[in-house]
């Protein structure tokens, strides 16, 4: 097997055993990127020179603890010191932060080698990565199809073996949905588990940074590094962080799994339902107790999400006004015109639409009917989950209603596109940890199974995901995007 095909933990072993140097690994990765990137288009920015330099330093030091010497990528919404961070938007096209996001500095301090920044839907608004202001990313399993979004670049790059792992962000499903479409592992931790400092905000009460990897073990390894309190983020909670690799036990006997009937209804493709149900049988076979449960308010999650998220976004994106950084219209004749023309030219349609939606929802006279009501719905959704978690350890559902769709297929009608998130959004609204793992194929396209845990119980997700992975071989299947 080529070095680029190896998982994070396999690369760790190679480095430890001196069977490969970091430089060789990074070179292999860039070799792979050169081979497939023209088709996949996962990266907005690549830094081969910087990565090689870091790799050589790693080799010279000879310290291969943690992820030292191992390449990775960051979604281009995560600020990286000295490297462009665009949010796939024209308004930040040339923005180079002089600070690292906390997650970026933690990976850096652990010795990881940053390869580049990954494509996404502009400001994380979208489910296909077609909303990138620069170019769409392709699904490695079928280049005519989308990788999902908004962290589509991260998912596609990991699936196509361009990098062993990547970070993404998930506001309504932006890690789990592309992980599902691309057949990789995607974890969105509990809200408050991972610092958001330096991650450009879309919807602050929902955003959470998480991990893409090809195997569950890698996900646990990376979570160990990025999770935990950060004094720079007041919403990042000071709760004890376990060693997540301790949950990598192939034993789920007695684990109580609930599957919500509302997540297996019409609107979810039959092939997907069947695949996930088969996976549930596997869990039973492995000794878990599987029962149907109900989350009755889930159907209101999507409409409520499309009030809360745009409302917060309308404020979060207001700072892009051309005054201090980013794009500015220098032709404008006064300051109001500068604000409007800078933003008119800098933002894409989807972003503008969500800013308008959010502005409207917060407007005087509408606040109670929309935003406040959405917050109440949010509380009901959370209560549903709390009730189920009184009796169950884990909830399992499909991650997405369909497999990856074709490029351009869902660009016309936003409501159809928003339906992609119907199974993932409730988890963000409740602030819970969620994970998508490969559980089969329909028409040669990957299907993801969503695992939902109690707050701050990422450990149980990892344990259940690992057990499934150890007893199936879906994760070993690799796409062949073809070499140029």
């Amino acid at each position: 097997m080529d070095l680029y095909e190896l998982t994070l933990h396999e690369l760790q072993e190679k480095l430890h055993n001196k069977q490969a140097s970091s430089e060789e690994i990074v070179k292999a990765v860039f070799g792979r990127i050169k081979d497939v990137e023209a088709k996949i288009q996962a990266f907005i920015t690549l830094d081969e020179e910087g990565a090689l330099d870091k790799a050589r330093k790693c080799d010279a030091r000879g310290d291969f603890s943690s992820i030292a010497g191992i390449p990775y990528g960051l979604k281009d919404i995560i600020c990286s010191q000295g490297m462009k961070t665009t949010c796939a938007s024209k308004i930040l096209e040339n923005f180079v932060p002089f600070y690292d996001a906390t997650v970026a500095s933690r990976l850096k301090e652990a010795g990881g080698v940053l390869v580049g920044k990954l494509n996404m839907d502009e400001f994380a608004m979208g489910s296909s990565t077609e909303q990138s202001a620069f170019f769409p990313t392709r699904n490695p399993w079928d280049l005519d199809r989308v990788p999902g979004g908004s962290s589509g670049g991260s998912a596609a790059a990991v699936a196509a073996c361009e990098i062993p792992f990547a970070l993404g962000t998930d506001t309504g499903g932006s890690i789990r949905q592309p992980a599902s479409f691309c057949g990789v592992v995607g974890l969105k931790p509990t809200y408050g588990r991972v610092s958001r400092y330096g991650v450009v905000a879309y919807a602050s009460s929902l955003d959470q940074v998480g991990v893409f990897s090809r195997e569950v073990r890698d996900c646990a390894l990376v979570l160990n590094i990025i999770a935990g309190r950060d004094p720079l983020d007041s919403t990042c909670v000071d709760i004890e962080k376990p060693d997540y690799t301790e949950f990598l036990r192939d034993d789920i006997k007695g684990l109580k799994i609930g599957y919500p009937r509302e997540y297996f209804q019409e609107g979810i493709a039959k092939g997907i339902k069947d695949t996930v149900k088969k996976a549930l049988l596997k869990y039973e076979e492995l000794g878990a107790l599987v029962e149907e449960v109900s989350l009755p308010h889930s159907e209101y999650a999507l409409p409520a999400y499309y009030l809360v998220a745009p409302a917060e976004a309308s404020a979060n994106l207001a700072r892009f006004d051309g005054v201090r950084y980013g794009r500015r219209d220098f032709e404008a004749e006064n300051v109001i015109q500068m604000f409007s023309s800078t933003r008119a030219a800098g933002f894409g349609d989807e972003v503008k639409m969500r800013i308008m939606l959010g502005t409207y929802a917060l407007s005087s006279g509408y606040y109670d009917a929309y935003y406040l009501k959405a917050l109440k719905v949010r509380r009901l959704i959370k209560n549903d989950f709390d009730k189920v978690f009184n009796d169950f350890d884990l909830i399992v559902s499909p991650t997405t209603p369909t497999t990856a769709f074709k490029l351009g297929e869902q660009t016309g009608d936003p409501l159809t596109l928003y339906m992609n998130d119907i199974l993932t959004v409730p988890i963000n609204m409740a602030g819970l940890p969620g994970m998508s793992i490969p559980c089969g194929f329909v028409d040669a396209l990957p299907v993801g199974m969503q695992l939902i845990g109690k707050p701050f119980d990422e450990g149980t997700l990892i344990r259940a995901a690992y057990a499934f992975e150890q007893n199936t071989d879906y994760h070993t299947a690799k796409p062949d995007p073809g070499v140029m």
Binding site: L92, R196, Y197, V200, D321, I336
Partner: protein, 481 residues
């Protein structure tokens, strides 16, 4: 003002809290630094930055609330107030909308000898914005410069009930508020530096009418004087308008210092919709009873208590005691002086008189004064000991004020010590008598006023240093012999 209309005023006061660092980042909170030197990615609104609440700001808010007799909320939260302006880096201000940190307080004012309680509706925390700087005038310049040093400076906005009935009451309220906050030690309260700012909501209504008239909010009040003038102008304007049959419209007006008028800035219809919503980056703030108790223990003596104490301990008039307790620095000067000199009344007279006169002349603050309380006490002792006269003391005091030297040193160096040596004075007086036989004759012939001339001659001969009481005594003795 018209006698048919009652004035109704409510004040919104912004106070900059003088915490070490800003409210949501660790930048230094100071006035007057070079533009954009106290800034960081957080207070300049860079992508991905998050606010972290400075605990000292909460301490100061609690302190202020206690000083203003407020209820301190055990649960409050922050909200975003959205509007676009180049000096507002995030395009929203983090403020408190419906759950402020302090509410339902009051302070007492006194106008024309009458005491009145003014309600305080609420006091809430928020961050200040930066400021725009223009070269030349705003209309002639082609660009604006943004200075973000002030962005993120903690502000407490204190909103009064519409309890004030005149510009004098408004001024008394501002003075009292300033005094309380100075004593609490939470702010410099310097209007000229913008650490104390005030907007006035002004309306009028016919006497006896329960319902409030339509109000105008008057901004840009940069001094107590401007506030008084602006309120008086606004009241006059509104009464005249009503008497002319016009309707008052709810609007924001600005005080134009040069023209001494208020001018409309925007009407209610043009008012911003700030689209407040809860700040998702900050968890709600819980303030325990223990926290409030701890701050209460740290709160110094407030001016009203101090005033009572001064009146009781030193038998000062209410007026003097009031003036001495206007600022904590003033009171501290007095209190320290009483450690070295017993008679508070004399100290008070000197502070009210000479000290104030010189401070006003030099436009100085008592904290900057070169005379230390112990030195004033030393000088008062010299008077008591008869080593200098009260008149000489004024010169000594002025010298102390200029140079900061001790009174002892000044009288030594300048040879200013009073001559109280009877033998020495006797000799000088005898010389004066011998030189002026005509005047002595006049005196002896019944022109008692003639002594005045002789005393003057003695003073001249001693360069004013003769102890006047002693001169009078010796002179009388010699003339009557």
């Amino acid at each position: 003002m018209s006698k048919d209309f009652e004035t109704v005023i409510g004040l919104e006061v912004h106070v900059e809290l003088k915490t070490r660092s800003k409210i949501f980042c660790s930048c230094t909170n100071e006035f007057g630094a070079k533009p954009n030197t106290n800034v960081c990615p957080i207070c300049s609104g860079f992508p991905g930055m998050l606010p972290v609440l400075n605990e000292q700001v909460v301490d100061y808010a609690i302190k202020s609330g206690l000083a203003l007799n407020c209820e301190i909320a055990d649960y409050c939260k922050f909200d975003r107030k959205n509007y676009f302006y180049p000096d507002l880096p995030k395009a929203y201000q983090i403020s408190q909308y419906d759950l402020p940190v302090c509410k339902q307080g009051y302070l007492d004012i006194e106008v024309n000898g009458e005491r009145k309680r003014i309600g305080i509706t609420r006091a809430h925390l928020e961050e200040d914005a930066g400021k725009l700087v223009h070269q030349g005038t705003i209309s002639s310049t082609t660009f604006s410069l943004v200075d973000l040093n002030r962005s993120g400076v903690p502000l407490l906005e204190i909103v009064s009930e519409p309890d004030l009935r005149s510009s004098q009451e408004a001024r008394a309220y501002m003075e009292k508020l300033r005094s309380l906050l100075l004593f609490a030690g939470v702010s410099d309260c310097k209007m000229e530096e913008g650490s104390l700012r005030c907007d006035a909501n002004v309306s009028v209504r016919p006497y006896g009418q329960e319902e409030l008239g339509t109000r105008a909010e008057v901004k840009n009040l940069n001094s107590f004087k401007a506030m008084e003038k602006a309120i008086d102008y606004e009241v006059r304007r509104q009464i005249e308008a009503i008497e002319d049959g016009e309707e008052i419209i709810q609007e924001t007006r600005t005080w134009e210092e040069e023209r001494q008028i208020t001018r409309s800035m925007r009407s209610k219809e043009e008012a911003h919709d700030y689209r407040y919503f809860p700040e998702p980056d900050l968890p709600p703030l819980r303030i325990s009873r223990e926290w409030v108790e701890r701050i209460l223990q740290s709160l110094p003596e407030m001016p009203e208590k101090a005033r009572e104490r001064l009146m009781e301990e030193y038998d000062l008039s209410e007026y003097d005691a009031h003036l001495l307790t206007l600022t904590p620095d003033y009171l501290a000067f007095f209190d320290e002086c009483t450690l070295y000199y017993q008679d508070g009344k004399i100290i008070s007279n000197w502070m009210m008189g000479e000290l104030n006169k010189l401070l006003n002349q030099k436009n100085m603050d008592i904290a900057e004064c070169r005379i230390k309380p112990a030195a004033l006490a030393d000088m008062l002792k010299l008077i008591d000991e008869g080593r200098i006269s009260g008149k000489m003391a004024k010169d000594v005091f002025e010298e102390m004020f200029e140079t900061g030297a001790s009174p002892e040193k000044i009288i030594k160096e300048k040879g200013m010590e009073q001559i109280s040596d009877e033998a020495a004075l006797g000799t000088i007086i005898q010389e004066v008598i011998d030189k002026n036989p005509g005047v002595v004759d006049d005196y002896r012939n019944g022109k008692k006023k003639a002594t005045g001339f002789l005393v003057g001659q003695v003073m001249q001969a001693t360069k004013g240093q003769a102890n006047p009481a002693l001169v009078n005594k010796i002179l009388a003795e010699k003339l009557n012999n």
